[in-house]
Amino acid sequence: MRIGLFIPCFMNELYPEASMDTLRILEHLGLDVEYPFEQTCCGQPMANTGCAKEASVLAYRFLEIFKKYDYIVAPSGSCVSMVRQNYAQFLEGKDGFEHLRTHTYELVEFLHDIIKPDNLHVKFPFKVGIHNSCHAHRHLRLASMSERNEAPFSKIKALLEKAEGIEFVELTRVDECCGFGGTFCVSEEAMSVAMGKDRVQDHLKAGVQIITGVDMSCLMHMQGIIDRDKLPIKTMYVGQILAGGIV
Amino acid sequence: MNAKEKILANIKNNVPAIKEPMPQTNIAHVHFENKEEKFEAALASVGGNAITLSHESIDAFVAKHYPDAKVITSTIDGLTCKNKDANEQDTPHFLEDVDLAIVEGEFGVAENGAVWVKNPKNKHRVLYFIAQRLLIIVPKGALVDTMHEAYERVKFNTSGYGTFISGPSKTADIEQALVIGAHGPTDACVLFV
């Protein structure tokens, strides 16, 4: 099984450690992982701003770089959702696209659905609040949605539960958007921040120490608010927790 | 082209070639072990109440529960408590002073506390809304589980008016505070007889 690792462009530049943890987890599980150097951006910021032409170019690039792998794994729910939900408009019928669409996974879902590790040998004695980032949540279906009449489940929780000492904290709004929203975070700056503050407050009031999730972009937005307002809470990419036991 | 032709032509032009078939609408749905209990609970949740009459007459029930009602009207034959003929005039405005209207309902719906009211004997449909209080008489045991069964019994082969009434008139338009008695009846009791 050859895995192509996709690191979102902003994570490559700003979050090398969280990115490296993703790689470490996969390699630690004995998987054959390759990071193709020519990769850049999946095109999501362009697509979400309506720039279809630009997004299409980057989608095509992504396909050409990654179609040769058995699986493509990325530490990002929204980039994976871009591939699965939105690439069809640009790539439908193109050679290798159907494989790409069905074999691109977000890290947690890849571990949960495909690899199914028994034990992660991680200790994490903290009160954790899960941020169900919208695209991972509602497009990739990483957890049951509060809107739907369905049996509760959470792939993130199912994995994190393997960490020793971890304590999950219940929120009042389990899957409300944090307001990052890609370019929304600047085009609707006031709204984005208002939403982010409310999300952080929900975690704070519930007694959360660490907010975690599968989208570093949402966490970066909330961390930006936390740092500006000097709040006693921290965000951590889920991979950083899961990689904690790897020496 | 007139408006009708323009609209229809535009629709015809724009609908897709491959069309969605009509789905099966008789979907599997809930059935209640105790329809009476469910009906009462559902009605209570929307500010109404349901009572089953045991021995006493409707007249006795009205005398006991509506002592202040001065003007009482009904579409039900043989009641002695009524003192106004709801069908007397052709214009309904004379019903504005009705304190209590006693009307017939065909059946209740357990899932939502609604009663189907479609009474060809009643000349003025506004009676159900203009009366200050409403008492709906429903045959004992006339209950269905859900709206699926309800609509099996509802027919409009001929012209007419019918309504599902679920509790009293209400509003929450001021700061989401539930207020019973908006424009219509301030209470709507369902009496199983």
Binding site: F37, V57, E147, M191 | V15, Y161, T171, H183
Partner: protein
Amino acid sequence: MSQGHPELAEKFIANDERMHWHDKALWFVRAKRDNASKGVAEWEDLRDCAAKIKMHTIDHLDSYLLEFEKNALAKGIHIHWAYDAQEHNEIVLKLLQEKKVQKLVKSKSMLTEECHLNPYLEAAGIEVVDTDLGERIVQFRKEPPSHIVLPAIHLKKEDVGTTFEEFLHTQKGNSDPTYLTRAARVHLREKFLNADAAMTGVNFGIAETGGFVVCTNEGNADLGAGLPKLHIASMGIEKIIPKLSDLAIFTRLLARSATGQPVTSYTSHYHAPVVGGELHVIIVDNGRSDIIKDKDFRQSLQCIRCGACINTCPVYRRSGGYSYGYTIPGPIGSTLGANRNISLYKTLPFACSLCGSCSNVCPVKIDLDQQLYKHRQTVVAQNLLGFKKHTILKVATWVMKHPKILDFSGKMARAIVPKLPRSIVYSKANLWGKQRELPPFPKQSFKEAYQAKKGDRK
């Protein structure tokens, strides 16, 4: 629209206390909806079924409209067709003038809001009274509804109290909702009894029977339509459903989605005029048949106007109905507004974080977030995004096509930005940094670290 959604939202958010009050009020409605929907085991099947009925109906809309007309005429209901808002308003006025109507009572109809009927009739000297309590409140205040189901949700009870003091002479300072509702009851009873004609909207038009259904909690539609000799109902072409029995599906979904009630207090079926009266239905297009042709947006015609998408929308809850500048706010309003006039409503497709909650509460499963995503492409295609934004994204795309340039830019940024004074990094141009810190810049990119690591191994 002089100001777009971001600016109007910013103003709404500036009043933090009121913004959070609004958010909580709507969240409360959403929570009631969740509770009600979870009480119905077959909820998701109902949604599937409702969506398919609506899709089927729209795909066959011409024949269903004709069937509706035929059956309505057979029952003595008059049918009119209006291609646009102007024609609709003219038909209404003509009917009213024929009957010498001076006073008209109306129950809630977003369609007549869309057609701006009230000012049109008022200009012709007709008194128009909106009888839904929330609508009457905003009518007194000369405001449009800020929500399609809860027209006065933006007002606190004290605001309503002040308004009623002015118009209904209620006690000064009394803002008790029951007291105020009773005052409106007395006031509106008089309006109902003196009306010469009534107008209602239509929740569902039934092709099979030629009748229609109006749902209210207050009973204002029935009280209004049951008294005068003339009842005019305005119906958008998309309100048609094929069969009477289809109402089982829709009535189970509508109120639960809207307010969390198991059903509205009144679900009234009109298949005849009142004794000695006339019943008219105006079938209105006003741009709807154009939407059918676009498969990306056709589903928006499935809407049954429950308002669930509005209640769940994290943006609407924090920006209020007026921030949209369109008759219908929230996700459904944003897609309908964009369909109507993309240039005028160009900020609405972006008044959305693409969270997708709306599509999942929608009882007829409209892909609302996908529609807004697609509308953004129309904004760009019509050169409405704005030169600056578009250029930034074009340049970014060019950089993303050249990994070496990207790597170099990243390296430079990581080297330079941390050395810059805060006043430069957090200048006005940095919208991110207005209320948020940037993440600390690392020494190395992942790619550099990866190269180093692989190099070590070799």
